[in-house]
Amino acid sequence: MSISELLNKDLTEISGALVRREVSAMDLAQGYLDRIDAVQANLNAFITLDHELTRKEAAMADALRAKEPTSPLAGIPIAQKDIFCAEGWLTTAGSRMLENFVAPYDAHVVEQLKKQGFVTLGRANMDEFAMGSSNENSYFGAVKNPWDLTRVPGGSSGGSAAAVAAGLAPAATGTDTGGSIRQPAAWCGISGIKPTYGRVSRYGMIAYASSLDQAGMFARTARDLALLMDVIAGHDPRDATSVDRQDAPCVSVLGQDIKGLRVGVPQQWFGAGLSAGVSAVVQASIQELSKLGCEIVEIDFTMSEQAIPAYYVIAPAEASSNLSRFDGVRFGHRAEQYKDLTELYERSRGEGFGPEVKRRILMGSYVLSHGYYDAYYLQAQRVRRLIANDFERAFERCDVIAGPVAPTTAFPLGSFGADPVQMYLADLYTIPVNLAGLPALSIPAGFDAGMPVGLQLIGPWWQEARLLNMAHAYQQHTDWHTKRPEPLSGAAS
């Protein structure tokens, strides 16, 4: 197999080639870097590329491989969402605020990947501070969808998803606060998982809304996601919400029979608002699960419509608090002109943050301010419990919930320029999952007018392995996950 063919393979196959010493970490890294360079101007999937740093990591992985025993994953190249601190790498979170911020330490996720010998190809583009559903809110410019360069890749982890879909990396990290892994995975035609809240440490992951943020992964297959989950999951005392559990590795569960598993389908998610094309694809994929022996049951989400309003109170409230750390004193952008300390804060933040971040900080400050806290913030948290209760009731009747990821396929760039709030409404199927802290994934399920559609699978707390096994079974019987966009001009196929 030529290197160029190998670069199109999934992570499991690339790992096999590394283990059999058919390819070196350096060859792989260089191969992907060449591809990235050829399409970066069109796709803009990366914020920072540093060939020297990448080659250094590849050389270390090859050195690691020379010694036995070594992880089968040593030398696998990966795109890192620019929200994870990685020592020595520019870590911008897509913001002018952190334009010059070189992280002085590694995030937990980065540390875990480094231990295995993963090689960083570059820092993937994203919506500023992970706020957005289209990747148009990046200070470093929008990312394009590899299936259609006039469309968005989804967000906020748009660069990560576009990179994997375009064959620029076999895997990428992401974060998901309201759908930021599942939605771009769906819109770029790849697989992505958002683990249970508390499953993966948030240490070193730049915070947006701490009770919702969760790190996860993108790859081409559910099997690859299982391998990656087993690397990044686990207890870390540096994150007080990281939970200490001893679960079987996700990979060990793959291949178990899914016959008899009950798949719950929320009726409210297939009504008005879901495009007919996406609905047809998702219904067909649920039929496929039924053919594989799953029992399909209807479930009822009484609070479904309340998730977006609750999220757009809670997430901005947490963001306004989290982002107060960017004050122009200890790190990040500092304004040139100021006459006192207050003005230093105000101008540094006014200049450093983009419009969507300002919007959410303002909203958050408002709902937390005196006189509004009870009416908005506490009420949103009560509704949040009702939404979590909806899921709890549903999981008495089913083992996995299946439904759409987003109401449409990827929309054209600039669709919501005049009305950014309208874009919020498209997150209606992903946000409830974050509010309840559940694990969920998106896998390719078909196409609507040439654009990929994702199937979302949601599980009870800590049941990532069950979801991955079901997704794996689906991928053993379908080939949607093998579909690739036409190579972009300049990219070798």
Binding site: P104, S211, A240, E343, R382, V421, G437
Partner: protein, 95 residues
Amino acid sequence: MSFSDEDVRRVARLSRLALAPEEVSGFRQDLSKILDLAAKLQAIDTKNIEPLAHPGATAVFLRPDVVTESNRREAFQSVAPQVERGLYLVPRVVE
């Protein structure tokens, strides 16, 4: 519920966020829309429902109260806008 320009300026002050005059009316419209969205919550009966602050609330982990980090002041200050002799510089706050 609608925002006034003065409401926007008030929350901007609370947020320590300088807004250009031309930004204010856009944010007024956007925040009014978000608030309309949030207003839907008011119709929900949440009597006797405990607020859910975060999903893992039952399992918050406490670590032992011991020093685990080494002194890396230089590394951390290398990313600061202005430092001198190990101190962060800001405009004079005490006359």
